[in-house]
Symmetry: C2
């Protein structure tokens, strides 16, 4: 597979915004079971091997996993503060949890677990997300296996089918729209901001 | 109307992140006509008068106006980089355009137009957003009336019914959930991060 044409400007943005820690975060929108939108900040974990799929990790007990299981589609909004540009990446989401039979995806899930920091790994042993707080004094972090993920550890893959890139620095702004065609090629077009 | 209990931590976040220009931006998720989520960065324009409604401005020709007209509900995800906290604000959206008959809302729309910078006002005279680019040389910015908004200028109001506040600085993190009750009072609860 060849890299999509939007990968080059995205790489440049990541490079030029390196000094801003929040440039590795973006906002992922999904749909709630009642049809309303949900939106939260997540950490960009790189691309899956030689694909154009963005990696995100999450907890199987989180609301977003329930939402993605019911409607596996999302849009990432990624704003880069130093260069003042925005990428909107929209497409189907793949949830890779402890039950996923696909061997390659399961290996990718394990590798992702191994690459986490200890403190991030520990978050997956915390009590049920969004449940009312119990007694914090009762909470003692367990010793975790760094090679084998906890069952609640999930990998999410976003496979973009459209990408909307906006540059705010120029006046008028510049904007490009990329679209994945049926034959797996990408078309791109300069559009009005 | 009294201020909602989440207004105080949000004010503190705005105050403490003042030195970060992007703390006045947030990501607004809405729903596309095909049921998939859309997500983009918008500028926070303050609260409407003495209410808890967040103000956003946009162009009537943008996709989000079509989306909001069809399904007037959104979630804002607002990340503050300096203090490392996130507010998720979800609720119905009100679109105030040139046809809105409500006099108070129409006045609010006019006031908002008057408060914009010249360069932001000028953006509303740009060619159709997201249409393929024409010849940029042909574009000459018109002189705009600073008191009377262009017809395409819209005010959007988000009236939060739930607010989810996450503080990432502590370990484990702190998280609070605020919910608007049927009697217009707010309940709040500490929940697991």
């Amino acid at each position: 597979m060849s890299l999509a044409p939007w990968r080059s400007p995205l790489s440049h943005a990541l490079e030029r915004n390196r000094s801003s820690p929040e440039s590795c975060y973006f906002q992922l929108a999904t749909i709630r079971p009642d049809g309303t939108p949900a939106n939260r900040t997540v950490v960009f974990r790189g691309f899956l091997d030689e694909t154009n799929q963005l990696k995100i990790v999450t907890d199987a007990r989180s609301q977003k996993v329930k939402q993605i299981s019911a409607l596996p589609h999302g849009e990432v909004c990624w704003y880069f503060p130093i260069t003042r540009e925005q990428f909107r990446l929209q497409g189907p989401l793949t949830l890779v949890d402890s039950y996923t039979p696909n061997r390659a995806l399961q290996q990718a899930r394990c590798r992702e677990w191994q690459q986490l920091s200890d403190s991030t790994r520990r978050q997956f042993s915390w009590p049920d997300p969004a449940a009312p707080c119990g007694d914090r004094d009762d909470f003692s972090p367990p010793v975790l296996d760094t090679t084998q993920p906890l069952p609640q550890f999930c990998l999410i893959l976003l496979n973009p089918i459209t990408v909307d890139w906006l540059e705010l620095r120029s006046e008028p702004h510049n904007r490009w729209f990329y679209q994945l065609n049926g034959d797996r090629t990408w078309s791109q077009q300069a559009i009005n901001p």
